[in-house]
Amino acid sequence: MNVVDTLLVFALIPLCVYGLIALLTLWPKFARTPRYQAGQEWGYAPVWWTANPAGVGTHAPSAHLALEQGEAGEPAPTARGGARGNW
């Protein structure tokens, strides 16, 4: 067994194994979507989610009603309470 064979068997093959295992462990980290970190700039368009009306099932106020209310200009203040916080 000459020097090249020794290097191949005892250096290259272990390195390949290490590289393969590292790739397998780190792959999910590279592949997933970027997570938001607190304090970063929020560069996304605003979204407003409501409950799925089919899932809630009961009351379903028509959009027509909301339109009529909206045409009256500045909506009257409706807030009665709540809470706020910062981080």
Partner: protein, 161 residues
């Protein structure tokens, strides 16, 4: 040249670009690379599904209209912006708006007339504290879901008619 007529270009003066090929009839077919769109929100689909389920279950159980606004709250007064959003809801008396602005590091819960009766400010404050604890750890979706659960527990089931 009439509309719809196929333009034939001379063979010599056209240099085929990357991904272009000349078809048998002389037409040039060009392959355009499709770049994947960046995600609209930094959430995994499982987190979005959890949020959707939490919103629906909260609204169904309590009979209140829970909604989550996620984005910039215009102006310095985040409270005022959130209250304006609350006024735009379909049923403001029953609406509970959770407005989160990660850029401004602010979270607002706005309740209407009936929802305030069911959800006292003290309960909202508790939910806000729980959400803020998660937001500090960069866990937006988890904080929203736990806040919704706390608000649901606080409001209790919908009154029977």
């Amino acid at each position: 040249m009439a509309t719809g007529e196929i333009a034939h270009r001379d063979v010599e003066d056209v240099e085929l670009g990357y991904g272009a090929a000349r078809m048998a009839d002389g037409r040039i077919s060009v392959a355009v690379e499709q770049k994947p769109k960046p995600p609209a929100l930094p959430f995994r689909s499982s987190e979005l599904a959890q949020l959707d389920e939490a919103l629906t279950l909260s609204s169904r159980e309590t009979g209140l209209d829970f909604s989550i606004y996620l984005g910039e709250l215009d102006g310095d007064d985040t409270r005022k912006a959130a209250e304006e959003l609350h006024a735009q809801t379909l049923r403001p008396t029953h609406a509970v708006l959770i407005a989160v602005s990660p850029g401004q590091r602010a979270v607002e819960i706005v309740t209407g007339e009936e929802s305030h009766r069911r959800l006292p400010d003290r309960g909202c404050k508790l939910a806000v504290m729980s959400m803020v604890a998660s937001f500090k750890e960069s866990n937006l979706a988890g904080g929203l879901v736990s806040g919704l659960r706390m608000l649901t527990d606080q409001a209790g089931p919908a009154p029977r008619r």
